[in-house]
C-alpha cells in the first residue's frame, strides 16, 4: 500500500478529480492549503493607497491511500491533469503505508481500501 499526496493548483482541482474518477480512483481526502513559494501572486493588492503582496499562495492538498496496483496510473493521471507548464504546478509525493484498518468492517490491508463495487 502507498499513500500519494499531491499539492495542486486550486484551479486544477476539478479537472484532477474528474480524471481520477475516470480511472476508478474516487475515494480520497483533500483540503485547502496555503504556502509560500517562488510564484508571484496574480496582480498586486492595493488598499487605501498602499500596494502590497500577500505572499500567501493557495493550493489544494490531496491525499490518497492506494493499493500498489493503482499507484502508477494515479501518479500519471495527476501529473497530466494538473499540468500547465508554469512554475507553481505543484508536487506529488509517494509514501509507504504500514497498515490500514477500515473501521466499519474491521478489514485490514488491501481489503480495507476497496471501495464499494471495487473488483480489486
Amino acid at each position: 500500500m502507498k499513500k500519494v499526496e499531491a499539492i495542486i493548483r486550486t484551479t486544477k482541482f476539478e479537472e484532477v478529480k474528474t480524471e481520477l474518477k475516470k480511472i476508478g480512483i474516487d475515494f480520497f481526502s483533500y483540503w485547502d492549503a496555503s504556502g509560500v513559494g517562488n510564484e508571484l501572486t496574480r496582480g498586486h493588492h492595493s488598499y487605501r493607497g498602499t500596494v502590497y503582496d500577500t505572499e500567501y499562495i493557495s493550493r489544494i492538498f490531496i491525499s490518497i491511500v492506494l493499493r500498489d496496483v493503482n499507484v502508477e496510473k494515479t501518479i500519471k493521471c495527476i501529473e497530466k491533469a494538473a499540468y500547465t507548464g508554469e512554475i507553481g504546478d505543484g508536487m506529488i509525493f509517494i509514501y509507504n503505508i504500514e497498515e490500514s484498518v477500515r473501521i466499519s468492517n474491521g478489514a485490514h490491508g488491501d481489503e480495507s481500501t476497496k471501495g464499494p463495487g471495487d473488483s480489486l
Binding site: S46, Y47, R48, T50, Y52, D53, T54
Partner: protein, 513 residues
C-alpha cells in the same frame, strides 16, 4: 350571559362607527376629501376668517414639525451607516467592539445631550421661528468685549426642564441626532485599539459638553453667528447643516484622539512607511455609505427646520449632486493617478467627502457650484488621507479625519466662496442674502475662515484635555498589546463578532510590499 354582552358591545361599536362617519361619502379619487367641513368651526361648515386663519397657522407649523421630525428620523438612521462603514473597514477580530461603540454612542451621547447638551447649545437661541414661536429658550450666558455681547453658551433646558413645548421637543430630537453624528466620528479613527471604558466616558462628554459649546456659537445665537451683526463680517459664521458644527467637530476630535492613542500595532514599519490593514467587509461598508447618503436627505434639507421653506428641493439636489461628483472624483483619482485601481474604500470616502463638503453651503449655492464643491472634495479627501497617514503618521483606519475634518473645513470655505445670494435673507440678523467671495462679499469668506479656525482651536484643545482626563480615569485610553493582537472582541466585550467562524489569521495580519 357572556354571549349577550358580546353582541351588545358589537352593536354599540357598529352604531358609534356609523354615527361618526355618517356624513362621509366614499371618495376613491381623493378629490372631495378635505373641504370646508374639515375646518374646525363653532358653526360646522361655516368657519369665520379667524377660524380659517388659525387652521392655516396650525397647518404651517404642523408641516414644519412633520418635516423636522421625519428628517430627524432619517438622520438617526445614519448611526447604522456609520456602524457599517466603520466596522466594514476594520478587522473581523474587532467587529463586536467596533459595532458596540457605534451602538452605544447613540445612547450615551443622547444622555449627555439630555442632561446638559441641549441647554448649553440652545438655551439662548430665542424664539423658535418655524416651530411655533415658543420664546422660553432665552437664557444665553454672555461676556462683554469690545462693546459687544459675546454669547458663550445657553443655560435653559437642562434635562429639558422648563421647556415643555412641542416645538422645543421637535428641535431637541432633530439636534440630538445631529450631535450623535459628531459623536460617532472618532469611533472610526480610534477603532481597533480604544478601551471601551474610555470610549464610554467620552460618549457622554461629547454630547454633554464638547459638541454643544461650538454648536451654540454657530447655531444657538452665540458669538460666531453674531460676527456679522457685531463687526460687519458678512452674516457671521454661516453653516447651514453642519460642515463645521457637526463634521469638523467630529473630525478634529477624531484627529486628536487618533494622534494621542497612536497607530495600530503593525500599521507602520520601522522606516515609517505604512502597511495596508484591509477592512474585513467591503460590502458592508458600501451599504453603510448608502445609508449615510440616504440619511443626508434628512441632514441637509431638514436643516431648514421648515417643510414650508421650499428651498428644500434645491438643497436636496445640491446634496445628491455633490455626493455623486465626490464619489466620481475619488474613484478617478485613485484609478488614474494613485494605485491604478478604483479603490472601493476610497470611493466610499469620496462620496461621504462630497456630502460633508456640501453640508454647510447646500442652501446657499447653485447646483453647478455644488457639483464643483463635490469634485474638489473627492480629490481633497484622498490627498488628505494620504497626508495624514504617510506624512503625519496618524493611523485613521476609516479616513474619518480626511472625510469629516478636512472636508468639513472645505465646506465652510466653499460657502464663503460660492454662496450666490439666492437665499438667506436676514440670516443671523444681517439684512440681505448670503453671498460668497465670488459673488461680491469677501467679508463672508473671512467669517468662514474664522469659523474654521475657531473650530480647530476650540475642539482641538478641549478634545485634548478631555482625552487626557479620560486616560487618567481609565488608566490609559488604549487596550494592552496582547488584547489588541488577539482582537478586542473577547477581552473587551466578552463575545466575538463572528462566533463560530474561524477567522483567517493571515488576512488579519498587516502586510506590506
Amino acid at each position: 350571559m357572556l354571549k349577550k354582552y358580546v353582541i351588545l358591545v358589537a352593536i354599540l361599536i357598529t352604531t358609534l362607527a356609523a354615527a361618526s362617519y355618517a356624513h362621509a361619502v366614499a371618495d376613491p379619487s381623493g378629490g372631495a376629501t378635505g373641504t370646508i367641513v374639515d375646518v374646525p368651526a363653532a358653526v360646522a361648515g361655516e368657519p369665520t376668517a379667524t377660524e380659517v386663519a388659525n387652521l392655516v397657522g396650525h397647518n404651517k407649523v404642523a408641516i414644519n414639525m412633520m418635516w423636522v421630525l421625519l428628517c430627524g428620523f432619517l438622520v438617526m438612521f445614519m448611526q447604522a451607516g456609520f456602524a457599517m462603514v466603520e466596522s466594514g473597514l476594520t478587522r473581523a477580530k474587532n467587529a463586536a467592539h467596533t459595532m458596540s461603540m457605534n451602538m452605544m454612542v447613540y445612547a450615551l451621547g443622547m444622555i449627555g445631550f439630555f442632561i446638559s447638551g441641549f441647554a448649553l447649545m440652545f438655551g439662548g437661541v430665542g424664539t423658535l421661528g418655524t416651530l411655533g414661536g415658543f420664546g422660553g429658550l432665552a437664557n444665553e450666558f454672555t461676556i462683554e468685549l469690545f462693546g459687544h455681547s459675546f454669547g458663550l453658551f445657553g443655560t435653559k433646558g437642562f434635562f429639558l426642564m422648563g421647556v415643555y413645548d412641542v416645538g422645543v421637543f421637535a428641535l431637541f430630537l432633530f439636534q440630538m441626532v445631529f450631535m450623535d453624528t459628531t459623536a460617532t466620528i472618532p469611533t472610526g479613527s480610534m477603532a481597533e485599539r480604544w478601551k471601551f471604558s474610555s470610549f464610554a466616558i467620552y460618549g457622554v462628554v461629547v454630547g454633554a459638553l464638547i459638541y454643544p459649546i461650538f454648536g451654540n456659537w454657530v447655531w444657538g445665537y452665540g458669538w460666531l453667528s453674531q460676527l456679522g451683526a457685531m463687526f460687519g463680517l458678512g452674516h457671521g459664521v454661516v453653516d447651514f447643516a453642519g460642515s463645521s458644527v457637526v463634521h469638523m467637530t467630529g473630525g478634529v476630535l477624531a484627529f486628536v484622539g487618533a494622534a494621542m492613542i497612536g497607530p495600530r500595532i503593525g500599521k507602520y514599519n520601522k522606516n515609517g512607511t505604512p502597511n495596508a490593514i484591509p477592512g474585513h467587509n467591503i460590502p458592508m461598508a458600501i451599504i453603510g455609505a448608502f445609508i449615510l447618503a440616504f440619511g443626508w436627505f434628512g441632514f441637509n434639507p431638514g436643516s431648514t427646520l421648515a417643510g414650508g421653506d421650499l428651498r428644500i428641493s434645491v438643497i436636496a439636489v445640491n446634496t445628491m449632486i455633490a455626493s455623486a461628483t465626490g464619489a466620481f472624483a475619488s474613484m478617478m483619482y485613485m484609478w488614474l493617478v494613485k494605485t491604478k485601481k478604483p479603490d472601493p474604500s476610497m470611493m466610499i470616502n469620496g462620496m461621504l467627502a462630497g456630502l460633508v463638503a456640501i453640508t454647510a453651503p447646500c442652501a446657499f449655492v447653485n447646483v453647478q457650484s455644488a457639483a464643483l464643491i463635490g469634485l474638489i472634495a473627492g480629490v481633497l479627501v484622498i490627498e488628505a488621507a494620504f497626508f495624514i497617514e504617510k506624512k503625519l503618521r496618524v493611523d485613521d483606519p476609516v479616513g474619518a479625519v480626511a472625510v469629516h475634518g478636512v472636508n468639513g473645513a472645505w465646506g465652510m470655505i466653499a460657502l464663503g466662496l460660492f454662496a450666490d445670494g439666492a437665499y438667506g435673507d436676514g440670516w443671523n440678523g444681517v439684512a440681505g442674502t448670503v453671498k460668497g467671495l465670488f459673488y461680491g462679499d469677501a467679508s463672508q469668506f473671512f467669517a468662514q475662515l474664522i469659523g474654521v479656525g475657531v473650530n480647530i482651536i476650540y475642539v482641538g484643545s478641549i478634545g485634548w484635555v478631555v482625552f487626557k482626563l479620560i486616560g487618567k480615569i481609565t488608566g490609559g485610553m488604549r487596550v494592552n498589546a496582547k488584547d489588541e493582537l488577539y482582537g478586542l472582541d473577547i477581552p473587551e466585550m466578552g463575545v466575538e463578532g463572528y462566533a463560530g467562524i474561524k477567522l483567517d489569521k493571515n488576512a488579519e495580519t498587516p502586510l506590506s510590499r
